[in-house]
């Protein structure tokens, strides 16, 4: 579904991503794990055109994403929940969801039904519907960020560290939500520092170190890999 080939990204003279290759197949949860600064966020940002790559190919559903304007990428069905949630804090919760549905033109009834669905899954967002999004707690903001992406009805979702800054209970909750999103038919590419949790819900995983993919395999394999355990799982 999504294929990244020989991706090279530079920040000025700094070579951040070195010939990265990976693939996400329809229906999968694939996770990209690695330490701070390994280049995980950079890869996601390059996929959705927030950063320009120097070389390499990014294809989503047979389309070359590098030739598509960033604001058209969501229309293809690829949603990106960015690092740090990036909700619109001066807009209300409802308005944030409306921005998520900005590109939809399948009629008010269908969109309203999806608002209802989101509110059933996240009753707390419903309670705070007309509150400014900036007043939400961290966990609620993350739920809003994911809901906002759900409202676009994407085929695939890129999630950048959804567990960042959340308490362990909330982390559990967020990962359950990611699993549910996937179960509803959305392919997921999950970037995480919390390798343990990420590997527990993923089908496959790639390990990123200083801009190189150093290991790949099924989530189960990587979980049992002694080097991975030592470096990322703290055991």
């Amino acid at each position: 579904m999504l294929k990244v080939e020989n991706l090279e990204v530079y920040y000025g003279s700094i070579h951040a991503i070195h010939g990265v290759n990976f693939e996400v197949k329809q229906g999968e949860i694939v996770t990209l794990i690695g330490a701070n600064g390994a280049g995980k966020t950079t890869i996601l940002q390059t996929i959705t055109g927030m950063i320009k790559s120097k070389a390499g190919e990014i294809t989503f559903l047979e389309k070359n994403l590098k030739t598509i304007e960033p604001h058209r990428i969501l229309q293809l069905g690829l949603a990106h929940v960015p690092e740090g949630r990036r909700i619109f804090s001066g807009l209300t919760v409802m308005e944030n969801l409306q921005m998520g549905a900005y590109i939809r033109n399948d009629g008010k009834a269908a969109i309203d039904a999806d608002y209802e669905r989101v509110f059933t899954t996240f009753p707390r967002l419903k309670e705070r519907k007309s509150q400014l999004a900036g007043t939400l707690s961290g966990g609620e903001q993350q739920m809003l960020a994911i809901s906002r992406a759900i409202m676009a009805k994407p085929k695939m979702m890129l999630l950048d560290e959804p567990s960042m800054g959340l308490s362990p209970i909330l982390v559990q909750e967020i990962f359950k939500i990611v699993k549910d999103v996937n179960a509803s038919g959305v392919t997921v590419l999950l970037v995480e520092q919390n390798a343990n949790m990420a590997l527990s819900i993923a089908d496959r995983a790639y390990v990123l170190e200083t801009g190189h993919i150093v290991k790949e395999g099924s989530a189960q394999e990587l979980k049992n890999d002694s080097a991975i355990q030592k470096a990322y799982l703290g055991s």
């Binding site: 058209r72 949603a79 960015p82 990036r86 409306q98």
Partner: protein
Amino acid sequence: MDFIYQLINGLQVGSIYALVALGYTMVYGIAKLINFAHGDIIMVGAYIALLAVGSMNLNIWVALLVSVVFCVILGVLIERVAYKPLRNSSRMSALITAIGMSLFLENLFLLIFSSNKRPFPNSFSGVAFSIGDKPISFNTLLTITISLVLMFVLWFFVQKTKIGKAMRAVSEDTAAAQLMGININTTISVTFAIGSGLAAVASVFYSSTYPLVDPYMGVMLGLKAFIAAVLGGIGSIPGAILGGVIMGIAESLTKGYISSTLADAVVFGILILVLLFKPSGLLGKNVKEKV
């Protein structure tokens, strides 16, 4: 009675400042650019209205419409030609380009129309009502009413419509708005269109109040409106309106009770005080730089 009279006059000038300030503040909010050519759009608007009324004998309302349409197109065009190519350059380059665009417009009109001041016809003549023995002109009443209506329409547009919400989203976080599929170019064009349209309306009422049109008329008005925007908190729409009204009233009261030569000094003095005690402006948000 005299005080109320001065207040109403202040409100009139203030509404004009507010209309122009809205253009500065909205463009800053969306494109993070101080559009120094905005004041000159007023000058262009005044010339277009003058030509429409004077040479083509159009009704003043039709002239107003022609002026608005012309300025909207000009504003969008300026953004496309001068600012868009610099979107990813440093802010300083865009700022200098804006100053360059301002000089270009001034000198272009100097070349076409010479530096002679031209009289603007007294378009909204007559007395609407009197306060004591002081007449309030129809022009004053219209300026205030139409400004209020436009501000309400703008508020409705920004708060309630899809594009308006998208504009607020872009002004908060451009990259995240792009991820929602919002086209940044369209949003910026709409912002320039609205700002320039409001400036054209302001230009007609300003010219009806101070009926002399010349290529540099936009400089001082633009500067004061910019100060109004900063006073209210640049980027904030209610702030621009509040700032404009405060400046207009302060100016009018100074002229009425102290001295007309001191009016500008008082206005700039207020700005200095606000910047000293609340640098983000009266209604401005204290935005912390994210690391």
